[in-house]
Point group: D2
């Protein structure tokens, strides 16, 4: 059967990324506490296509990913997988992106009841001609914010709301998801929990009202923490507050 | 050219709904204040298919809708459109659903600054064999809720958050979107506004803290209002609070 | 601390459903081939609230679900969990809904290469006053359809596209997800695969072109199969084709 | 009342973007054929915040946008609006993003029946310290693709499917949405239409089967066209095919 993909292309245009997207798969990734955690990943994988080749071979992406599906997608394994994609597709560069929900066991502050809480994460890795592997880790952390302006001007209360912090870091080392979640949570007015009894709810409410913060405060406090971590080469931090007095959101972003 | 759709079907199965979905279109609907409002609707239209016919004629749905696109989709026009779909498709029953964002001018409570606020709405109409037209109107109203439990047990503050009320009513008369929005807003802890200056923010914050409500309170207070309206034949009301202390939501639902 | 939720309510309105939604959790469910499969579920759980009680106790839902998180959510376990929710919340009725991605190992037709394919599923269970447990299973199956009209009138080719079949069944017995997926796949023009080599692609293309079907054909053929299964008490089947010649979709629905 | 936002900040961190997001609004934009078109825009607006200021004044964004809501958001108006945001917020830089559905009247190729078709678009404008305004225009164009490999190896037919082209261009001049849509449509296997009669369906089917293209072919042919347009300073073009034989997608991307 004719291999149309391998035929010569005369348009003279290199393609930066060609591959597959929206492939869903259960895989394992490194977990700080329990060694590994099974996740359901949405996968995007691509290679660079030279200008003289008409098409890539899409089924080979699946074959390489299949060979790794049962392993732990830790730092070492991702590097190995990246190289295999590049080699099997005869490409110079390759990239791989995983989007998934990650779970962490979290204890309520007073009653000490623990349960799992979900965080949306993204890992992106790219390997280039010179064998360098670059990694990007993104974590979305739901937080609460109490408005400092509303608190000062109102006789009683202050509008507060759920917000979402997004931290994206570039690194050639390894950064734990848990590290970024912790930085986001200590920088907000309050932390969200999977389970709270009444004594916890009292504690959590009082703590966040003692700690009012604008979106601007939250991204600045997170940026200060991220700057201290030498493993983080560059970062972008964003906070979006789902205002309880408006139907639009307040947001802020700092890039390093 | 052969008309495969019109061929005879021997499987003996009537099809309840067959037609088109996810058709986007700018149309006009009735607006309480300004007579009509231009919206962008996501349209679903269908007919009942008798057991002996293989298929419907999809392009005719578009042709009928096209003939009405410039008119105001008020009560009378929807009835006319429903009948045309049914007739042009040689069907016994037809149904039409419009999902759209509706805008209302809203004034801030103290500074009187007004601007548009968006509400997600759905209108569904069905016409049956006996020419009866039934209508369903659904309105999603963002609101704020202050937790009564958190307020009583905490020394300072109370967790509050954005929530979403969904009211769905069945009627053979005409019910204004504005009526349902108003019922939702007066039944919550607080109302959301497109624009608030500092004096408004103070007022809105203090008002919602003086009016703490659970999701249970909100759906009950709305249901009490809906029961009084004789045009509403039956209803379903739902409230979802995007808790500022949890990553999951609290919700409640009452069906009449 | 005062228990505001337990206080008396004078509005005289029962609440049909009150509880939590959008709780994400890794759990196990029954898998036909491998006994159990770990999934990430989006959970909604609720109880009926009597008219004289102001609120439910949201944290108890989490506590009951926590006790079951490590077990296999098979038929027996769900029944047990439903009863526990009802009892712990002092309610007459309770309901539980799980939305999740389920994976099945699937072999390509010629090269016999197997890999996992994803299906979106929903399980809903309700327990009522008389201890009866009703179950609803919904499976979304991506399929392909070749248009019979386009095939007959065109000199070459026929427009074909990805479509999505949704089968929802009510049962008091147990129905495998695998059974519903199989019924959907044998009733479409073609089946989707996670991995296909060239010899498979040739086979799959020729097979779907030998089997052109409208949305109407697909829902009818599925309905005929579902009617034969005595475990299925009632069903609803829907097919949406993402037409490759239009930006809107074609859809059809049969209710038993 | 105290103006907390204007207070001094000692963390020494500039904020790249701070403002509002997810504000929905009906506005007007330039339309090549009809001068202007009313759209519903999702708006994001932000300014740069100097390191010594604690917060921005969120309500002012709404006030400036309100002043422009009734005008046509053409090239000139956007520039004026950008400057007003920057001035009213006492900022050095500002940015504005509009996401919206745009409609174009489209004629079927044989029967000449015309109707509106929807395209998802994004306009982003930024104004910097030196008064330079940069614009980004993004258009998503649904297309159809017929697989060249499947066509050559199969005795009958070829798998085809809906795909989505995304073209993003940077310009300091003005580029019509219509120009980018046209480039995408002439570069795919086939064009999508709002309404097609049988004679059109025959024509469209035969035309796309005479023109099989991979995602790689589509992005390359679009890139060749974009390179010719001198108004376009840089671009990124992406194509995602919703494969009718897989549940994952094929995609390709070229950056200029």
């Amino acid at each position: 059967m004719r291999d149309v993909q391998s035929e010569n292309d005369k348009r003279g245009l290199m393609i930066n990324e060609v591959g597959i997207s929206d492939l869903y798969l259960p895989i394992f990734i490194s977990d700080k506490k329990n060694k590994k955690q099974q996740i359901v990943a949405k996968i995007k994988a691509s290679v660079k296509l030279p200008s003289n080749q008409r098409g890539t071979h899409m089924s080979r992406f699946i074959e390489v990913i299949k060979n790794h599906q049962k392993f732990n997608f830790n730092n070492k394994k991702i590097s190995k997988l990246m190289k295999e994609i590049r080699d099997k597709l005869h490409a110079e560069c390759a990239s791989l992106q995983l989007d998934f929900t990650y779970f962490i066991n979290k204890k309520s502050p007073i009653s000490n009841k623990s349960f799992l809480m979900d965080y949306q994460c993204k890992i992106k890795a790219t390997i280039s001609e010179n064998n360098t592997i670059k990694k990007e880790l993104e974590v979305e952390v739901p937080i609460s914010s109490v408005c400092p302006c509303s608190k000062i001007i109102s006789k009683d209360g202050a509008h507060n709301q759920r917000g979402l912090v997004k931290i994206n870091v570039n690194t050639s080392a390894f950064v734990w998801i848990e590290t970024l979640i912790n930085i986001a949570e200590i920088s907000a007015s309050g932390v969200l929990y999977p389970i709270l009894k009444r004594e916890d709810e009292k504690y959590v409410t009082e703590k966040m009202f003692a700690n009012p913060k604008f979106v601007e405060d939250i991204v600045r406090d997170i940026a200060l923490q991220l700057k201290k971590d030498k493993k983080i080469e560059s970062f972008e931090v964003e906070c979006t507050n789902y205002e309880s007095i408006h139907n639009h959101n307040a947001y802020a972003k700092i890039k390093s």
